[in-house]
């Protein structure tokens, strides 16, 4: 009994510790800047939706005048970049993962490792040369350019996670399907991919979150036309002051899509993994 109670209290404390910043951001998003900056902070205030209104309408009223913010556009950009780069990575990475899992070929491991090594180097290392290349190639400030460079983040993730799932599928199952008279492409599409689906979903979700959270590539390689929310939030640091309320509201809005996706995928992932689909 006591042990249980203690455990519950401790867990509650941990949860509180980690959830408190989120709770505070939620509060801030419905406060005016004056309320936020009041010292000492107070929980008694008049909630307001004006931060959200400002974000959605794109009109930011400051003491020195009205500023245009492209927040909704940034949100859209985030979606385009995240979905686009994950889709491209799936298209390239899933067949590649299958190849690495099933076939031994010359330099195979080296290629796989090289792709993984993209994750080792800090982005700052390659950013400046990339900027020059992008300007030369006309890729600067385009969705395509950013989706391309996001492959550095998403492709290795998808490749290495999905590869493990493919390796777990019994080769006999695929052989059986070939012997039934199906081509290897049919075997890949109707046996390997469905059986690795939980892994593909997990990898895609993870890659999406990484892409969504990226800041530095988008900051340097694009203008506000293609920049995602992570960069867009900078607009609230204005000459006349920092608009904490809008930043908080922007944060809340930017978390929503990933949260929905995570909740949706979590149910799917747990189901997929507990099926023991691969073991047959």
């Amino acid at each position: 009994m006591i042990v249980k109670a203690v455990r519950a209290v401790l867990l509650a404390l941990v949860a509180l510790f980690f959830l408190f910043p989120i709770f505070w951001v939620l509060l801030m998003s419905v406060m005016t800047n004056q309320d936020i900056l009041r010292s000492p902070p107070s929980l008694i205030f008049e909630p307001t939706l004006e931060n959200y209104v400002a974000l959605i309408s794109g009109q930011l009223d400051t003491s020195v005048g009205t500023l245009e913010v492209a927040y909704m556009r940034n949100l859209m950009n985030s979606l385009i970049l995240g979905v686009g780069s994950v889709l491209l990575s799936l298209l390239l990475g899933v067949p590649a993962a299958y190849a690495f899992a099933r076939f031994r070929f010359r330099l195979g491991e080296n290629i796989a490792f090289t792709l993984l090594s993209f994750r080792f180097a800090p982005p700052l290392l390659v950013l400046l040369p990339l900027l020059f290349y992008f300007q030369q190639l006309g890729l600067y400030d385009t969705y395509f350019g950013l989706i391309w460079v996001y492959q550095l983040i998403t492709l290795p993730l998808i490749l290495w996670i999905v590869r493990g799932y493919f390796e777990d599928i019994s080769e006999d199952i695929e052989h059986a399907y070939r012997l039934d008279g199906h081509s290897w492409l049919a075997t890949f599409l109707r046996i390997a991919i469905p059986l690795a689906r939980p892994g593909i979903a997990a990898a895609a979700l993870l890659a999406f979150i990484f892409a969504w959270n990226n800041f530095i590539f988008a900051l340097i390689l694009g203008s506000s036309d293609v920049q995602p929310v992570t960069v867009g939030a900078l607009a609230f640091i204005t000459a006349s002051g920092i608009n904490y309320g809008q930043i908080a509201a922007a944060l809340v809005l930017s978390v929503v899509p990933t949260l929905i996706l995570a909740l949706f995928a979590q149910r799917y992932l747990v189901e997929g993994l507990s099926l023991g689909a691969v073991k047959g």
Binding site: R178, L179, G181, I191, G276, G280
Partner: protein, 363 residues
Amino acid sequence: MAYFEIDRLSKSFGKSKVIDNLSLSVRQGESVVVFGPSGCGKTVLLRLISGVLRADAGDIRIDGESIAHLGPDHRDVAMAFQNFALYPHMTAFENIASPLRARKLAEAEISRRVHELAELLRIDHVLGHTPRELSNGQKQRTSLARSLAAPPAVLLLDDPLRNVDAKIRYEMRLELPRVLREYRSTVFYVTQDYKEAMALGNRVGVLYDGTFQQVDTPAGIYGRPESIRIARLFGDPPVNLLPARPELSGDGRAKLRIGGSDLVGPPSLESLVGRDLLVGIRPEDIEVLTEPAEGAIAVELDALTPLNVRAVMLLRDGQGTEILASCPEDDRPPLSRGRRQVWARLDLGRALFFDRATEMRIH
């Protein structure tokens, strides 16, 4: 007329030659059991035939046409896997229908054939289940049904009874020949259980060291094994191997000194006088007596194990050599457990004579 031919097939992995210059001809509709110890290359052989692996050298022909260059999907070869290899995300129905779908049959025809097979194998009540909802016996039948769905020219069965329990194994041993007859496929059946090999094959190929060491009827392999190793693999309890050197006795007949006694051998032994032999005697060719008798050697009974309908007796001769004897449980001498003096009469007329150096049988 050979229908299915394997011609000097070889396959190596790195430095180890798993299949080495292996050849075999099979008639249409014949069942050949591939029998061998684990790790002898049975599964590799099946994979070479199915096309999942490519051979380094040699050819495989069905009805005179080489299939060695074809992929597994074009070989007209089906296989039932030891671990069933069912598609976990499909129902039993879809598993069995898979070869028919590959052949793009009409939905009604697919349904008809799947139900027909399911009825034959008595799994029609579980067609809607996924593999993880099936018992091992049902999985095994589903995998067998799948391999038979589009009757293949050659059917490969990779130890299909290994992973099912004893009751189903016995049932299937009786049922399989009936099902296979119905489909008239040429069957390759891999097993490492000699009883299964005895029960199922028109012929048995004993595979080890990369090639067939002997191909014969089950009775032929049991009665005339080419080597000591084959004799040992085939039979349970295993064959007794007693070192002996035949000598001529005064009356011109060959005698063998076994267990401290001189035993008169069959006439065929006379040509082997002076050679170092291993005399192979099956346990059932040894009669255990409670009284001394003409031609029986004195041995000590060490242990007696009733095994279902047969009793197995562990005997020890004067030099301490162990000899196994077996007989139907009903015929066994009235012995209580515990060590005691008994006499064993060896039926040398049915003995196998092996050269001690080459370990090959002397004809």
